[in-house]
């Protein structure tokens, strides 16, 4: 591939800078959350640095390849990911009662995380191919199949949080593409009639979580404990916070999953309203930058990719922080670029690569 100087000129340094800033704060925060944990091997924060570096490499690879090439191979990538999910159901490691991890060549990762990004790619492709002529029943059935297969496989692991996340991404696309009000309404109506049915599919612990979310005091020692402790941690940060490494909820381990899903509580406890507000603002800037890339894209696949990845990041932020603040039920959605977790970090860096990919190539297409 011939090197085009314009790629370098159009490289989105600000975007990369924002991501690295969030990741750096995240690593400091993981340090605070885990520095006094007893564990074998590398501490969480050094591991997170490794994952960030791996992510950066994969990001470079992702933006180096023209996104049209990626779009061209979208279905192949999709099938490979489905195959991964299938392998998880056969050979996956079981932790905490669910089968989510796949070990390949000595690395363990969660194919369900990758699936989020792959779904964006495949939806971008499908909606780009079918932009003209509106949507009819055949299209809808194909779309439902594209989303339904991974949804089912992930929900079965069981990982309802991630499965629902795929649905949310899908609906974001549906709304963006504008499949028409009629369809949208029928989608929503269908979803609403299916929701009660879902209740019967849910495992007991999942029902428990939802009920507890509705009333955390219902089970102050069990599931509700997480929500209560998180709210206490966040609220006790007050305006200025308790200081780095000084959050009592964190340091005395009253917070559950404090380096992963509840990383934001740790930050809010130690840095207070001022710090948390600043962090949310940085996230907001990140989302705006993502939307700007989607807006400025010169073709539909680029716009859809950029939009999809931005939504990926946005929903992660909104659901995770919402959960930590007690607005949403406890679901295992990490805070993008911030929570500890290899799969999440790597996939998000690849997503960022896609965004930069689109951003870099908008002028090339102009000519």
């Amino acid at each position: 591939m011939k090197f085009d100087r314009r790629l370098l000129i159009n490289f989105d340094w600000v975007f990369l800078g924002v991501i690295l800033l969030i990741s750096a704060i995240g690593i400091l925060n993981i340090y605070s959350a885990s520095h006094n944990m007893y564990m074998r091997g590398e501490p969480f924060y050094t591991k997170q640095i490794y994952w960030l570096l791996v992510g950066l490499v994969l990001m470079i690879i992702t933006f180096s390849v023209d996104y049209h090439t990626i779009i061209r191979y979208a279905y192949l990538i999709y099938l490979i990911s489905i195959a991964f999910l299938f392998m998880v159901s056969l050979y996956g490691d079981i932790t905490h009662g669910s089968q989510r991890w796949l070990v390949l060549w000595g690395f363990s990762f969660q194919p369900s995380e990758l699936m989020k990004l792959v779904l964006i790619i495949v939806l971008a492709r499908y909606f780009s191919d079918n932009a003209q002529g509106g949507y009819h029943l055949g299209n809808i059935l194909i779309l439902l199949a594209i989303v339904g297969v991974p949804f089912y496989m992930i929900a079965r692991q069981p990982d309802l949080g991630t499965a629902m996340f795929l649905m949310i991404l899908f609906f974001s696309f549906v709304v963006f593409v504008g499949v028409g009000w009629k369809l949208l309404v029928s989608f929503i109506a269908g979803g609403m009639t299916l929701t009660p049915l879902c209740w019967f599919i849910l495992k007991d612990y999942q029902k428990e979580r939802i009920l507890t979310f509705l009333n955390p005091e219902r089970d102050p020692l069990g599931t509700g404990y997480h929500i209560i402790q998180s709210i206490i941690a966040v609220g006790s940060g007050n305006i200025w916070g308790k200081g780095f490494l000084k959050g009592t909820q964190t340091q005395l381990k009253f917070l559950p999953e404090q380096q992963t899903d509840f990383a934001f509580s740790v930050f809010a406890e130690e840095w207070g309203f001022v710090g948390a507000l600043a962090l949310i603002f940085i996230f907001f800037v990140l989302i705006l930058l993502g939307l700007k890339i989607a807006r400025d894209s010169r073709d539909l696949p680029g716009a859809l990719l950029a939009f999809g990845v931005t939504m990926f990041v946005f929903w992660g932020i909104f659901i995770n922080i919402g959960m930590v603040l007690g607005i949403f039920p406890v679901v295992g959605i990490p805070l993008p670029f911030f929570s500890y977790g290899g799969s999440s970090m790597v996939v998000l860096m690849m997503g960022a690569g896609l965004l930069m990919n689109v951003s870099m190539r908008r002028f090339i297409l102009q000519s």
Binding site: H68, R72, S128, A131, Q132, F176, G178, P220, L221, Q229, I231, I232, A233, V234, G235, S236, G237, N238, I239, T248, Q249, L252, K253, F254, A268, E269, G272, F273, A276, L277, I280, F283, F284, I287, L288, L291, A294, R295, S297, R298, D299, L300, P301, A303, F307, F314, F318, I321, G322, L325, G326, I327, L365
Partner: protein, 615 residues
């Protein structure tokens, strides 16, 4: 690049731009929602949640004080504190409480159901609070649990001090017992400073001096982590042990009194007539106060409360008996003082006395012949006193009775004292809606009928005669001191009043009481001693008045209808230093049943004095 071109064709960037603008608004709204929520938690509810995070991390643990000791007049420890061991489980650490309980039961060879789980004692909403599962475990269990603590997650062994009553049953009624505060007691204001699970005095001195004995709780602030592990002690206030109490009781004399009884139900009290000090006080049957230490078992409690002899009752202060012939002292004093008789007034006793259409009999059927006051007291002539009583009338008898401290509580430092009863016309009208009968005065004059006294009241009245006229408040608590031995309060004898009897008349009475023991035909012959002669008066209190023809078969009448035997005495005749009252319930005649017991006590007292003197 054909495919790329395809996508370019027909793409309208303007349309996307509009959609993105909508999404920008939606996203902004979402972020605003998060910020509002964040502000709500951190700014508006910040203080409340900061407090809750402190509550999470800082636990205030109470350090319970050691209860004060109780000692006798010579410093012998009557109540001590001994360690007892409890097992608790912290459910959050144990995770599977049932499993841990099974392991515990296995280790200690406990049967199923032995382990309780007092969730009620767990304050709601607090995490990592130990819940007690076993109380007062034995040495074997303690060793088994302590060595296997690592395999028993969440199991905690607590050391709890418990009371040890060295003398057991012997002093149960004086010392009382302790127990956990009940829900009922918690409701009142008296126990406002107490918390559930606190140990309080329930009876006896333990109850009467519950404040000084209790001490002050200390506390410590402890920082704990989420697993309830103690990380740091942030602050500590030591507890202050309760005050020690020194009683006037002489443990050796108490033992003599206890042993003086055989298996009879009854009571004996020993007092120093010069000061009103209570040197011994036994009540039988009794109970073992150690049973109450860690909560009495239902079975034991039932045994105590259903026993018809009421072992929980302190007969010395709450047993109410007709005074019988011991009452004659007061009648005689009143008649002398009112000038109705002199020491020489003689009355003929032919064995009967007529009042209206009723015939009252002397205990001696054939009669005493012509007797003066001295002989009447010595031989306890009923007819003589029927006459005195009728001369005095019920109101004057009541007046003098009260002056001798009857009919009202003596004010001894023990809970549950009864006042006895001094009957009057007014009282009878109120109580029975019937006027006073003349014959009732006749009965009253020999201490039968309505009059009721507690043994302690009776003893105090006799002490007043013995010491020349001063009615003392019974003096049980000598002093209260801190655990280090610093005196907090010292209690000196409290003369309550002076009985309105002249010196001459008191001498007459004293001499008569001396005669009752030391002269021929005296009813108290059992106490005649070679030296340190005793003065005393017998009494036989009728429980029911029997028709005359049944009098003969007294041995066969039911236990509960048998007479109470009474004896009150003091010694030596000159400058008395000890006074004793003995009541044997349903024992029969005072002279033959109560007097020998009093004898053993008086002998014991003087022997003890000699031993102590030699030492």
């Amino acid at each position: 690049m054909l495919g790329n071109r395809n996508y370019l064709i027909g793409y309208d960037p303007g349309e996307s731009r509009n959609k993105i603008r909508v999404f920008k608004w939606l996203v902004s709204c979402a972020f605003l929602l998060l910020i509002f929520r964040l502000g709500n938690l951190q700014v508006f509810r910040g203080d409340e949640l900061r407090q809750r995070s402190e509550d999470n991390r800082i636990r205030v643990q109470e350090i319970k004080p050691l209860r004060g000791l109780i000692m006798d007049a010579y410093g012998e420890i009557l109540v001590d504190n001994q360690p007892s061991f409890d097992i608790s489980i912290i459910p959050e650490i144990a995770k599977d409480v049932e499993l841990v309980k099974d392991k515990l039961a296995d280790l200690c060879n406990w049967e199923e159901g032995t382990l309780l789980f007092e969730t009620a004692s767990q304050p709601s909403g607090k995490l990592f609070v130990p819940v007690r599962v076993a109380k007062n475990i034995g040495r074997y269990e303690l060793a088994a649990v302590a060595t296997n603590l690592l395999d028993l997650p969440g199991v905690v062994v607590d050391v709890v001090p418990v009371r040890e009553y060295t003398y057991g049953k012997m002093m149960a009624h004086i010392l009382g017992y302790v127990g956990e505060i009940s829900a009922f007691e918690m409701e009142g204001d008296v126990f406002a400073s107490y918390r559930a699970g606190d140990i309080i005095g329930k009876y006896g001195i333990e109850k009467y001096l519950k404040g000084p004995l209790r001490g002050k709780s200390g506390g410590q602030q402890v920082e704990v982590d989420a697993a309830g592990r103690r990380l740091d002690v942030l602050g500590k206030i030591s507890s202050v042990p309760g005050h020690n109490v020194v009683l006037n009781i002489d443990a050796d004399l108490q033992k003599i009194c206890w042993d003086a009884f055989r298996e009879q139900a009854g009571t004996a009290v020993v007092m120093d007539p010069r000061t009103g000090s209570v040197m011994a006080m036994v009540s039988r049957p009794s109970f073992d106060p150690n049973l109450f230490n860690r909560g009495i078992s239902g079975e034991d409690w039932k045994k105590l409360t259903t026993n018809p002899l009421c072992p929980l009752q302190n007969r010395a202060i709450s047993g109410q008996y007709p005074p019988g012939s011991t009452y004659k002292l007061i009648i005689a004093a009143a008649a002398l003082e009112e000038g109705l008789i002199t020491e020489n007034t003689k009355i003929l006793c032919d064995g009967t006395h007529q009042m209206g259409n009723r015939t009252f009999r002397c205990w001696k059927k054939e009669g005493h012949g012509t007797v003066d006051l001295h002989r009447a007291i010595v031989e306890s002539c009923d007819v003589y006193f029927y006459n005195l009583g009728e001369m005095l009338g019920v109101e004057r008898i009541a007046e003098y009775s009260r002056k001798f401290g009857l009919g009202s509580k003596t004010g001894i430092s023990l809970p549950g004292e009864k006042a006895g009863l001094v009957p009057t016309r007014e009282w009878k009208l109120k109580r029975f809606r019937e006027p006073w009968q003349r014959g009732e005065t006749t009965s009253l004059s020999i201490g039968q009928g309505f009059a009721l006294v507690t043994p302690l009241q009776l003893l105090r009245a006799y002490c007043a005669v013995a010491n020349g006229g001063i009615l003392y408040k019974p003096h049980l608590i000598k002093k209260i001191e801190t655990a280090e031995g610093k005196t907090v309060g010292e209690f000196s004898p409290e003369p309550e009043s002076t009985i309105p009897i002249s010196k001459e008349n008191i001498d007459i009475l004293n001499y008569a009481l001396w005669g009752a023991v030391n002269e021929p035909h005296g009813t108290g012959w059992a106490l005649k001693r070679a030296e340190k002669d005793v003065c005393g008066k017998t009494g036989t209190a009728q429980v029911v008045s029997l028709p005359e023809d049944e009098e003969e078969q007294k041995d066969e009448i039911q236990y509960r209808f048998r007479d109470h035997a009474l004896f009150v005495c003091f010694a030596p005749y000159r400058d008395p230093e000890v006074a004793v009252v003995v009541v044997v319930e349903h024992g029969g005649h005072g002279g033959s049943v109560a007097a020998p017991i009093a004898r053993r006590i008086v002998d014991g007292y003087f022997d003890l004095g000699q031993e102590r003197h030699i030492r």
